[in-house]
């Protein structure tokens, strides 16, 4: 076992502890013990059902978009790819307002339907929950699948072209095996994100029938202060995540493409008007669906940006610091955990790493609070704890990008490295970092963006002078200042996207 792999196992153990200890701490602080309620069956069923449908739909819609982006080169493509990252990092409240502005009762879609003398469609209900989850996660799926597409070596595509593959053949022989390799993991992550959804499900679900497990946890914690129930439901959520992670590991197949020589190879399978129209439509529709809600909300804030008080900007600076630190932490964690996952007995690293997305942020935060309380004043730890929780919660995304790349690296150059005695830091510097730049940049960018937009834990710990940008956004809304809040959201999105862009660019351009 190499040092990296050993570090990876240690890191995995630490992450497992970070997930389980808070749960235990919450259970330990419980006053009395309560079990499940009769209504929990329905709650669990709704949670699973909507997560399943949302994940499946997100991926189904993402595949044509990712394929179109993989085989087209057009001006502004970089911007499209970048903006696709935006919905995922949008604060829930902004996303809800955006979706409502497009699909709501008085939104653009229903207005258009009204002109056409068609009856209105309602966003509220299970369809709204799924719509919102697809809005959040389809871009993520697109990004991750696109990574898979770009990882197909140009040599294979050249071979396909030389053999006169029709698009159908390319799909069957090259793209399908690639999808087979990446989709189960992506499905799992999105499924798990959707199981922990709560505010969106409630706002667009239109009532208590859209109750998810996370809402039940919030209720147990915030309203009933029934910590045993919160811990129990938190454990249910983790078990669900664990089961789903194990299942998806069994379904994942290695794509087995082998290594290319990093040659830039044009795509030969993009000719034909039919394909061109199909790809253009996919990209156009995706952009409309994802960007319109954001534009409608954020443009309302554009005018208010300059009038925002300095404290909002300071909050942005704090968010930036949190984002950068979390990105560094997650990338380092994911790097060693991916090494462990690639080596022998590494399955658990992948399971634990995936599991953290199923952890209830509320249980995690509360548990950490209970754990810290005897040691330090938790309020003074608000920002470090936010960094920590975000680093852990972003891990699954980072691993999703890194593990396949690490596996390829091991398969293609593992023996060469070993035969040269190339290990340790020299291997990291000369082989891993240059070869893994893209997934590392992606992981860092995504973590930074996620951490910048995270509200969860900071609300539990902060004192007013530690507020981050998302918290300020809610404070502004709570004080009736909707326009200022939208301006803050605009800054937040710009900040998150900016970080994402910088890291990704670093990933693509640096090095050979």
């Amino acid at each position: 076992m190499t040092t990296g792999t050993r570090l990876g196992h240690i890191a995995t153990g630490a992450v497992a502890a970070a997930l389980l200890l808070p749960l235990g701490a919450v259970a330990w602080r419980a006053e009395g013990w309560s079990g499940f309620r009769a209504s929990d069956g329905h709650v669990l069923w709704f949670t699973l059902w909507q997560a399943m449908v949302s994940a499946a739909l997100s991926i189904l819609l993402a595949v044509p978009v990712a394929r179109a982006l993989a085989r087209r080169r057009f001006p502004g493509r970089g911007w499209v790819v970048l903006l696709l990252g935006a919905p995922f990092i949008l604060p829930v409240i902004v996303a809800v307002l955006g979706l409502v502005a497009v699909f709501g009762r008085t939104g653009a879609v229903n207005t258009a339907l009204g002109w056409a003398d068609l009856g209105p469609v309602s966003i509220y209900g299970w369809q709204g929950v799924i719509l919102a989850h697809v809005f959040f996660n389809m871009p993520l799926a697109t990004r991750l699948i696109l990574q898979g597409w770009l990882a197909v070596p140009g040599e294979r595509l050249r071979l396909a072209a030389s053999l006169g593959f029709a698009p159908g053949d390319t799909f069957r022989l090259l793209e399908w095996p690639m999808l087979r390799g990446v989709v189960p993991g992506i499905f799992l992550v999105i499924f798990l994100i959707c199981t922990t959804s709560f505010a969106v499900a409630l706002a667009l679900g239109g009532g208590p029938r859209a109750t998810t497990v996370e809402l039940a946890i919030y209720q147990a914690f915030r309203f009933d202060f029934d910590l045993s129930r919160a811990a129990l439901l938190g454990a249910v959520q983790l078990c669900l995540g664990g089961a789903a992670a194990l299942l998806s590991l069994r379904l994942t197949l290695p794509s087995g493409f082998g290594a290319g020589l990093d040659r830039a190879v044009p795509r030969w399978d993009s000719g034909g008007w039919g394909l061109r129209v199909q790809d253009s439509a996919a990209i156009l529709l995706a952009c409309l669906f994802l960007l319109l809600p954001m534009v409608l909300v954020l443009s309302q804030g554009a005018l208010a940006v300059t009038g925002l008080p300095a404290s909002v900007w300071w909050a942005a600076v704090r968010s930036l610091a949190v984002a950068l630190t979390a990105a560094l932490a997650t990338t380092a964690l994911a790097f060693v955990m991916a090494q462990a996952a690639t080596g022998a007995r590494g399955g658990w690293a992948e399971v634990i790493g995936t599991l953290s997305v199923a952890a209830s942020p509320l249980v995690l935060g509360t548990g950490l609070y209970v754990l810290l309380l005897p040691v330090v004043n938790p309020v003074s730890m608000a920002l470090p704890v936010t960094v920590f929780v975000n680093a852990v919660l972003a891990l699954p995304f980072a691993l999703r990008a890194l593990i396949p790349a690490m596996r390829d690296l091991d398969r293609d150059y593992g023996r060469l490295s070993a035969s040269l005695g190339l290990g340790g830091l020299a291997w990291v510097r000369l082989v891993a970092l240059p070869r893994l730049r893209r997934p590392l940049g992606f992981a860092a960018g995504l973590t930074a963006a996620l951490a910048a937009g995270d509200l969860g834990v900071i609300a539990l710990f902060a004192s007013p002078d530690q507020a981050t940008l998302p918290l300020v956004l809610y404070q502004l809304m709570g004080a009736y200042r909707m326009e200022d809040a939208k301006a803050a959201a605009l800054i937040l999105v710009a900040l998150s996207l900016g970080l994402f862009w910088l890291f990704e660019r670093g990933g693509r351009h640096a090095g050979a």
Binding site: G207, P208, Y218, R222, F225, P309, V379, A459, P464, M477
Partner: protein, 327 residues
């Protein structure tokens, strides 16, 4: 580097030598934020006592219960009456020792632990440019107006949502579930908190939103917009009272008591209307800002005292769940 640390440590020492330990006040986020009443109150109090207030924000009650005896709080502010019984049950609080004569609240106050500092009526707020046929009673809203859409907050996650459930129970009694069922088709969305609902209302997605009779004051005073109004129901409006309490184990009992005494002072109370956009617990009408005088106010105020509210909590949430499920 080393010398910087030494200097910083030295400064900290000097700092603590001059000012005593600050008064730690647990407060909800909206209260202590830059846009809430907290900063002005802090400034006013600190000017009077050469001391310092440290706000700690978040979910006040759950945090207090997590911390128990170990809490660092000296004073807690922002506890709703519907939550007060649970706060009392922690046994962490000491009597407020403040004379509550002359409160300008529509309900009697006999609690000697929790001191009210502001209040408001729960109400449905609408936009006059979009709603012509305003319900003239709660019963009228429930029975008629099939096209009037509503956004409310979930009683399971939000204090204002819980207030509405209690309000429904108070007005409709045994028929509360039926009333929920009658409203259900028009309740477009149930949100986790107040902000989401109110945002959807100002964006024009719903015609009415569960909020407060004082909400129009913000639009009137801060935005010079008189199109937002609260529908007034003769059955009465549920009153939400926010209170403060001091911790029995505070290490600065004198300072904590000084803050409790400050709460009902005119200086504190006059910050509330435009700081919290709610009604102060003790402020003569002539000291109220102008915009507030124009607000329509209900004749009847409804409230359950904290013990009753606590006992009814599960009942009214069950009514909400059953009524909404019948949709």
């Amino acid at each position: 580097m080393r010398s910087t640390i030494t200097i910083a440590a030295g400064l900290t020492l000097i700092g603590t030598a001059v000012a005593a330990e600050p008064l730690t006040v647990y407060a909800p986020d909206y209260f202590a934020s830059e846009w809430g009443p907290g900063p002005a109150i802090k400034a006013a109090f600190e000017a009077s006592c050469s001391c310092e207030i440290d706000y700690v924000t978040g979910d006040v009650l759950p945090r207090l219960r997590l911390e128990g005896e170990r809490t660092r709080a000296d004073v807690v502010i922002g506890l709703n009456t519907d939550d007060a019984e649970r706060a009392r049950a922690t046994g962490l609080f000491a009597p407020h020792n403040v004379d509550t004569m002359g409160l300008t609240m529509p309900v009697d106050w006999e609690d000697d632990v929790f001191l009210p500092f502001n209040w408001g009526h729960t109400a449905f707020v609408y936009d006059t440019t979009r709603v012509d046929d305003v319900p003239d009673s709660f019963r009228d809203l429930v029975d008629n107006h099939p096209d009037l859409t509503l956004a409310i907050q979930d009683p399971r996650t939000s204090v204002s949502g819980l207030a509405m459930a209690l309000w429904m129970h108070r007005v409709f009694g045994e028929e509360a579930t039926d009333a929920w069922a009658a409203l259900a088709p028009r309740i477009v969305t149930v949100t986790k908190g107040w902000s989401e609902s109110y945002g959807m209302f100002t964006d024009g997605e719903v015609e009415m939103v569960l909020s407060y009779t004082t909400s129009p004051a913000y639009h009137l005073i801060a935005e010079d917009d008189d199109t937002k109004k609260a529908a007034i129901f003769p059955e009465g409006h549920y009153v939400m009272v926010e209170t403060a309490g001091q911790l029995a184990r505070t290490d600065q009992p004198d300072l904590a008591q000084a803050f409790m005494d400050f709460i009902l002072s005119e200086e504190f109370q006059s910050i509330i209307p435009e700081g919290n956009w709610s009604l102060p617990a003790k402020l003569p009408p002539e000291r109220m800002p102008e915009g507030f005088a124009a607000l329509a106010m209900p004749e009847v105020a409804l409230i359950y005292d904290s013990a009753e509210a606590e006992a009814l909590r599960d009942t009214v949430i069950a009514e909400f769940e059953a009524g909404m499920a019948a949709r």
